[in-house]
Amino acid sequence: MKYLKYLTVNLNSIAIITSIASILALSSCEEVIEIDLNSSNPVLVAEGQIVKDSAVWIKLSYTNDYFNSEDAIFEDNASVVLTDSDNNSEALVYIGDGIYKGDILLGEVYEDYTINISTEKGKYDGKSTLMPPSKIYEIEVSESEMQRPGQDETAYSLEIKFKDVSTADNYYMMKFFVNDKLDSYALVDDKIFLVGDTVIYPVMRKEFYLTDEIIVRLHTVDKDAYNYYYQINDAISDGMGPGGSSTPYNPASNFGEEVLGYFVAWSYVSDTVVIE
């Protein structure tokens, strides 16, 4: 269902923006402005993951003021424990820069993992289920149906065919690394473009250009993680103001309302394509 948002809303957005820009002959303008924002009390941020066949890690830090360019303050005095659905547990070791790492428990498919964080301010649990990896069959490159008006450089789009991992409802999160830099996410479920056991996903939100080297990393995630990354995607791409879209919000953490971030268990496969 979320895919529909990309299909329609983003097409709408592109259409609207390009069309209006055409009308106004690009009379709109953008400028960086000074704006007073309130200070906020630091809130714990947890970013953790366990990947199939790998050990767990989690990074603990605190929020800082929006225009503060200093590095975030790390939580270096927490106690962090990972437990699987068989009640096997492992205490993570702090290795610096807010990162706590495990070594013993390796990610297994369909296993439920719970990570417990204890700090001076409280205890927080985050849970996630590790879903099996998919398989990318093919990444097809073609000229985009929608070229930006007035732009000489040709835009390209991708169509990704991959295996649906089971007959149940499945959820996927793609990361696009463009020229070695994480560029964007795409969230896909298997309700729409499922042909047999193959999901055919046309990447319509993102344009690519000649010589781009794109790594597509396809994660299989549980429904809660899917929802979280959907919200994170919203949070990093929203605009505010009368002309903006929905009211911005904090993505809901699986550690509860007092913590930001997420602990995710997942598996992934990757493939690379170069636009040429």
Binding site: L11, S19, I33, Y62, N68, A235, M240, G243, N250
Partner: protein, 784 residues
Amino acid sequence: MILNNSKIPKPGNWPKYTPKLITGIAIFLFITNTIFSQSYTISGSITDTTSGENLIGASISIMGTSTGTTANTYGFYSLSLPQGQQKVSFTYIGYETITRDVSLTEDITINIQLSPNKTVLEEIVVTSGRKDENVRSAVMGVEKLDTKQLEKIPVLFGEKDILKTIQLLPGISTVSEGSSGFTVRGGSPDQNLILLDEAPVYSASHLMGFFSVFNTDALKNITVYKGGIPANYGGRASSALDITMKDGNNKDFAVSGGLGLISSRLTIEGPVIKDKMSFIVSGRRSYADLIAKQSSAMDDDMDLYFYDLNVKLNYKMNDKNRIFLSGYFGKDVFGFGSGMGMNWGNTTGTIRWNYLFNNKLFSNTSFIYSDYDYAFRVDDDIDMSSGIEDFGFKQDFTWYSNPDNTIKYGLNITRHSFNPGVLTFDNEDSNDVVLEEKKAFESAVYISNSQKIGDRLSAEYGLRLSMFNQIGPGQANTYNDNNERTDSILYGKGELMQSYFEYEPRVSFSYLLNETSSMKISYNRMAQYLHLLSNSTSGQPTDTWMPSSTNLKPQVVNQYSLGYFKNFDDNKFEFSAESYYKTMDNVADYKDGTDILLNENIESYILSGIGRSYGLELFLKKKYGRFTGWISYTLSRTERKIDGINHNNWYQAKYDKTHDLSIVGTYQLNKRLSLSATWIYYTGNAVTFPSGKYEYDGFKVPYYTERNGYRMPNYHRLDLNLHLEGKAKRRFQSSWDFSLYNGYNRHNAYTITFQESETIQGATEAVKMSLFGIVPSITWNFKF
């Protein structure tokens, strides 16, 4: 009180004082209408002598007394007077007054044709039937516009626009830069009832809100009710905007039109049978896409345009019967080549029959159709659509019982069909998404009386009883906190799914302090059963209408108003100060991250709460003379409290504007040349900005602490217009408008985005996008 049982409410379930209220009104009406002794009635119509158009709101008064009335929407008037000699005056602003000596020994019909007063300079004024109507009328919170006044007010791209003009009035605000979307006294844009010849218009804008769907060439009269809303209007919680199309010239054929930067328009009108039947056809088509293609800003295979067509035919069969057929057809078309594109638009149609039972009882019967739909197509094989369609019947009576009482009563019923969304694929590989179509009946009965009580006190009071029934086929779902269905009840075709009933009293009193000033007080209760699903401030064509249901309760607004009205200098100046307080029940917002589009469980994502709005509106206008114009200032606050949002605390609504000031002025330099200017200032909208940030997966993610806790920068803008009348050549008249939008090129913020800096590693920044710099435009208008 809201009833949400699944049966039609029985009288016993109604608020216990409702029957008493109805009985009380009936007794009061009976008493006040039986105390008048032997009298006779003057009735008829008042029209323009050159075009035959009805003069809505024209004043009929008995000279030397305070007795009088006004012509209704169809130009009809009726006035009962004691037997004997009477001196009757017929007036309409901008027209020559006619006075008749009448010897009343029986009921008589007097049809009056008024001639435009050519000695009076054209004015930009909010017109009314009589010069001091604002002071004397019991109704408050109402503004009437004449389309003539739109001609000289500068607007974006020179496109005359009634919706942008009413935003210059107190209590009415724009939703965003350049937008025709508006809010009234803290309501949301979907709480405005917009009627075009009685048909509701569900999406009143073109080109993403930059232009309204109303072609001013086809319009005659615009009335906007912000408070003191008469009982014959209902269905929306905040305001009613009643727009009347021209009937068409029944004297002569006439052609008018204009060429502008964005669009051109052409209107043809004339008699089919002179003085009996006339028509008007008015069309408008934008050609921004043609310009953009020429400038290479748009590819040749792309489309971007809108068009409107207004048509109307009226036939005066005899003195008792008249029929009107009117329609509107409008569309926006976006095409991106390669079989991709979208379009949306409204279609409305109205058939009306005026019937005069006798010279005191006027009836209007209307059959109404309205449709709004949206369609999107991708790659020639994916289609998406949504929309709403109405069929309505309306019966209104006006009983001019005596000079002091005019009673209106009637009923209406509308069948709504909602298409929340359908996504289909031409190929067999993909699964269609078809959201369940919903159906409902909305109905109401009303009665109201406009009464004069003595020389100083006037009242307008009434009651509207409304009912909403959602019917099958359909499915009523129950949800848990995770938006998962926990229970469903299936309903068959025509089966009642949910009913709501509301009583909506409307009361206004005016007390004349002296000949030039009055105090007014009013109370309104309004119910709204339709909900617009939208997550944008400025409105999008994909916004979807939904009915009230088991999970979505009707919005109910109570409004209390108090006002002081004063005219100066022989009514050249009008001043008013109105304050209001509104409470709102069942206002809606969404859970964080709600996906509105094609969401079959959308009802589970909607949060419901309460709201309040209060404010002070000051209005000073100069109506006559070489210099005309007005100053409008609104001080207001609008808040919401919805469980699940902002830690369950009150927060400012996104449309909240503390200060809203408009200054409008026109100076008539000579008979052919006038200069107009508007200056607008308002507090920036309430918005949610981040107070902190954190890093996740390499991205800098904003952290929010409060809903709508910040403000967009304050907005101000100056627009100018130079209006030049061409030299009249027999019948041919032309005029030029040279406009400058945003005259001092202020970069007002349209959006503010927070992002990682592209130049400073690790830094974050706020980026303001401004839509319009200084925008010159030129429009040529003609008429013959």
